[in-house]
């Protein structure tokens, strides 16, 4: 298959396939599940075949001209391939995992439909090189999230789903305004043709609304902790691992790989990222709801990713790219551990838990491993990403920001270890066994993946480095 076919398949196979799921569901449930897994697996495998192409550092543009410059353009380059691999792989895991997790609940057809549509749109977003189509996939993802957050249909849950949808929609339309401003300036939505364009600060601000709302960055972040009412699979893998990465990906795609932004904003954005990181870490430290704590932690870590991209040097960018991968693995693991614990103890309050390490050792260890990765302790994968981000920040001359970021890391250490101690150590208040083998297996796999990603860090590095070089075109 040609690169072009593979890319188109990667995007449209899950999207169109997702629409067939309800039909499959009418036939038989196992068939539907199997079909979903097949689709997800295909979506995960397809971008892997693009790696050789990506490693050459090449760029391929697929274009279908439509109307008014609203053309359908896909671009295959190391950055998009990297992001596609990370998100489709995680997406594939969610689908496999869901089969066991979700099979007691109602509305499974919708669940699988939305998850696959999500994955497909993510692929679309990743490969899109047209601002409007980026926005289009962006919003489809928002719809999927909305349905998935409100999956349990309880009134309050749906309200929170609405909140998430509205806040992200608000951010996104404001971002769209920014896109249109750029259009007004360049008469084009085509990213491949705008490389190197200096965009005005107001456009940057408008676009940041979208990025920050989607990536749950202060001050547009509060929907993310609230979105914890979704099924754990959704919070874990969609929110922690894929969804919130959209904003940072878009940041890399727009502000690094394509546009030049005014120097003032190059100063401001790192500050915003660090503030977000710090505030969220603070909120996490006082939070007692397990899932909310982890959600705040996600927000905090996203701040690092933004920071790395925002300082815009080689170390920062490659650190952030790696952060996307490492945080995806580790945070997904944390959420799934939380899911197991909550499932077993029927409470979300970490003060009511305790001593679970005795009854669920694997979960506890996996949690600890993932927590170490998030904190950034070697040899876990998270270390390299955080380290490089900090290095990049210092190298960019932002020593104080790096200091605050490191302070945030101390805070991260504090609250994650606190959570671990409260939940798994101490007196057993609500002893509960690890029941489900499949769930424990997945968290173990994620924990092991976190540590392997650290020890064998050189392997993803190759693609990341090529992507970094490709992004930082202004170095050339």
């Amino acid at each position: 298959m040609s690169i072009e076919t593979i890319t188109l398949l990667t995007v449209f196979l899950p999207i169109i396939g997702s629409l067939t799921i309800p039909a499959a569901g009418l036939l038989s449930k196992p068939l539907r599940s199997l079909w979903s897994v097949l689709l997800a697996a295909a979506t995960a495998i397809l971008p892997l075949t693009l790696i050789p192409f990506a490693l050459t550092g090449g760029e391929l543009v697929i274009r279908k001209d439509l109307f008014l410059g609203l053309d359908f353009i896909l671009v295959v380059d190391p950055l998009s391939v990297f992001m596609a691999i990370v998100s489709s792989a995680v997406g594939c895991m969610i689908v496999i995992y869901s089969i066991g997790y979700i099979h007691h609940d109602e509305n499974q057809n919708e669940y699988y439909l939305m998850v696959l549509l999500f994955i497909g749109s993510m692929m679309g977003l990743v490969f899109s090189a047209n601002l409007v189509f980026m926005y289009l996939f962006w919003e489809i993802i928002a719809i999927c999230c909305w349905r998935l957050i409100g999956f349990y249909r309880l009134r309050d849950f749906v309200r929170k789903a609405d909140k998430a949808f509205l806040v992200t929609f608000f951010g996104a339309v404001v971002m769209l305004l920014g896109f249109i401003q750029i259009y007004g300036q360049t008469h084009s939505f085509d990213l491949t043709q705008m490389r190197g364009t200096l965009i005005p600060g107001s456009a940057v601000l408008l676009i940041l609304f979208g990025l920050f709302s989607k990536s749950a960055t202060v001050p547009l972040h509060t929907w993310l902790p609230d979105a914890g009412v979704a099924p754990t699979t959704v919070t874990a893998l969609l929110h922690a691992a894929v969804l919130v990465k959209i904003g940072v990906y878009a940041y890399a795609r727009l502000f690094l790989a394509t546009f030049q932004i005014p120097p003032l904003w190059q100063q401001i954005i790192p500050i915003m990222a660090v503030v977000s990181s710090l505030v969220a870490a603070g909120a996490a430290a006082v939070e007692n709801d397990f899932k909310r704590l982890l959600a705040y932690s996600t927000i905090s870590q996203i701040g690092y990713i933004f920071l790395g991209f925002a300082v815009a040097n080689e170390a920062g960018i490659s650190g952030s790219l790696r952060f996307i991968l490492m945080h995806g693995l580790a945070k997904a693991g944390l959420f799934l551990c939380a899911g197991i614990v909550i499932h077993a103890t029927h409470t979300k309050d970490i003060r009511e838990m305790g001593g679970l390490i005795k009854t669920m050792p694997l979960t506890a260890v996996s949690f600890l491993f993932c927590a170490f990765s998030v904190i950034g302790i070697p040899p876990f994968g998270g270390f390299f990403s955080k380290f490089l981000v900090i290095m990049g920040t210092v190298k960019a001359g932002q020593v104080w920001l790096a200091a605050v970021a490191l302070f945030t890391a101390v805070l991260t250490m504090y609250y994650l270890l606190k959570a671990f101690s409260l939940v798994f150590l101490g007196e057993a208040k609500k002893p509960a066994p690890e029941k489900t083998v499949s769930m424990v297996t997945v968290v173990t796999v994620l924990a092991v993946a976190s540590i392997l990603a650290g020890i064998f860090v050189a392997y993803p590095m190759k693609l990341v480095n090529i992507a970094t070089t490709q992004i930082s075109w202004w170095y050339r």
Binding site: L70, R155, D162, L166, V173, L176, Y183, G184
Partner: protein, 492 residues
């Protein structure tokens, strides 16, 4: 033959009450829906051929005598005819099951057809007075249709609607007459030419003001909107769909646009006036919709808000703005029609329109819920549905013209829009099903079919937006855009 667009529904409407004696239900159903289908097919095939070589005005023979039935078909008119035919076909299909319990189906369809005939006539008219006349035809039919349920609220709504509409019609007619007095003619081109020759500033401006008010009332622009949230919810659901989806656009926006672009020429004053009204409508009505408990009333306010968008786009007057406005008109017609139809399904199943009493209906009414979701998201401007593209084009046009404040407000209003549509979703469909609705049933086949068709159209327009824009909307927008350049702007 262009005249068929008026004549066919008129003739069928005349025949129906007579045939209604033969067959109370089946025959009116079949006959009227065939008529709508004919109109659709005819517009899509013959209509396109007719205007292939440019806009035409057809004179026809009347019993062998050459008489003046002057109808003009151009891109814009064809575009409107398509929209009318599409929505009325779906509303007609929906009526098959829905109107069962209202009784007197033949009568109902006849009024429906008259309304369609009136709208078609209005779209095709090339004469100011005939615009007024067909506007009244559609209006009279709509009064009766709003009151069709004969309940207290239906009658109240119809009466207020009538009394406000009459005033509006009077304004319009006075304007028409004054223009007639100034230029000595009634045809669009003639009056347009006449106005160019005349230094008749104040009087023409007064006419323009009267038209804004009169057609503004028909289009339900704020502050002329107050009848709409009463009238549209009170009508039977397919009629609500027709009124919100079409009537306000044809007798309000279309007429206004046609007259302003082809007769007056869009001056900067008119442009600003329209945009101001549009933006106020978009925001205030969205806020009003937010507080509604009655699902149809919320939809009605939403119509006002969306009309505001359309007027904002068209009023901007740039080719892109017109394109966006017209496209939004089309998308809104589809989506709002769809939403009113689904609200009818819900009302029929649950017997209530109060959102607070509903809950989790998606469980029992999956098709209705899904199609309603499609409509909601389309109007809210969530991609990849049609509404997104039209709003996008409008905002693009606003930004391109440097109208930043309008663009920002338009964007924020779309957030408000999504807000209240999410309220509908949450309160009616997306949630745990209430105990009392455990036994309700999904809407009957034809109703579901109509909603599904419209939902598919919403999605289809979103996905094939480029084709729709290029082949249908662009020719329509071109007509108006040429109008803008042809007439020298006056005033300041």
């Amino acid at each position: 033959m262009v005249f068929l667009f008026v004549a066919v529904p008129l003739v069928v409407a005349g025949v129906l009450p007579l045939l209604g004696k033969l067959s109370k239900r089946v025959l009116p159903d079949i006959l009227s829906n065939l008529t709508f289908l004919f109109l659709l097919v005819y517009a899509a095939t013959a209509g396109r051929q007719i205007i292939a070589g440019g806009p035409v005005s057809q004179q026809i023979l009347w019993f062998g005598e050459p008489v003046q039935i002057l109808l003009g078909l151009d891109g814009l008119a064809l575009f409107m005819l398509m929209a009318i035919a599409l929505v009325s076909l779906c509303a007609g299909i929906f009526s098959i099951d829905y109107m069962e319990h209202y009784g007197a189906k033949a009568n109902y369809y006849a009024l429906f057809l008259i309304m369609v005939a009136g709208m078609n006539g209005l779209v095709l008219a090339k004469d100011l007075f005939q615009v007024y006349l067909f506007l009244e035809v559609a209006a009279v039919a709509s009064y009766a249709l709003v009151a069709y349920g004969l309940g207290y609220e239906e009658l109240e709504a119809a009466f207020k609607y009538l009394l406000l509409s009459v005033v509006a019609s009077a304004f319009v007619l006075i304007g028409v007459t004054v223009l007639f007095g100034l230029t000595g003619s009634l045809g669009f081109e003639a009056v347009g030419r006449g106005l160019q020759e005349l230094p008749a500033g104040p009087m023409a401006a007064l006419c323009a003001a009267l038209f804004v008010a009169g057609f503004g009332l028909k289009a339900a622009l704020i502050p002329f909107h107050a009848w709409l949230p009463d009238a549209h919810p009170s009508a039977p659901a397919p009629i609500s769909a027709m009124l919100s989806g079409l009537l306000i656009k044809v007798s309000g926006i279309y007429a206004l646009t046609r007259i302003f672009f082809s007769v007056f020429g869009l001056t900067s004053l008119l442009s600003n006036l329209l945009m101001g009204l549009g933006v106020i409508s978009a925001v205030v009505a969205a806020l009003l919709a937010l507080g509604q408990k009655d699902i149809k009333r919320m939809l009605a306010y939403s119509s006002i808000s969306q009309v505001g968008y359309i007027v904002l786009g068209i009023g901007l007057g740039t080719p892109l703005g017109i394109l966006g406005g017209l496209f939004h008109l089309f998308n809104h017609a589809l989506a709002k029609g769809l939403l009113f139809l689904t609200s009818g399904s819900v009302q029929m199943a649950t017997g209530t329109r109060n959102l607070d009493e509903m809950g989790g209906l998606a469980k029992r009414m999956p098709w209705t819920a899904a199609t309603n979701l499609v409509g909601s998201l389309s109007i809210a401007g969530v991609p990849p549905l049609g509404g997104f593209w039209s709003k996008l084009v409008i905002i693009m046009a606003l930004v391109q013209a440097g109208r930043w404040p309008y663009a920002v407000i338009a964007v924020l209003a779309s957030v408000l829009t999504l807000w209240y549509y999410l309220l509908i979703q949450r309160k009616a469909f997306f949630g745990k099903i209430e105990e009392r609705w455990k036994d309700i049933r999904e809407a009957p086949f034809w109703m579901t079919a109509a909603t599904v068709i419209l939902a598919l159209l919403c999605i289809g327009v979103g996905i094939f937006f480029a084709a729709v824009l290029k082949s249908w909307v662009q020719p329509a927008a071109d007509v108006l855009a040429q109008g803008v350049t042809a007439v020298i702007p006056r005033g300041r």
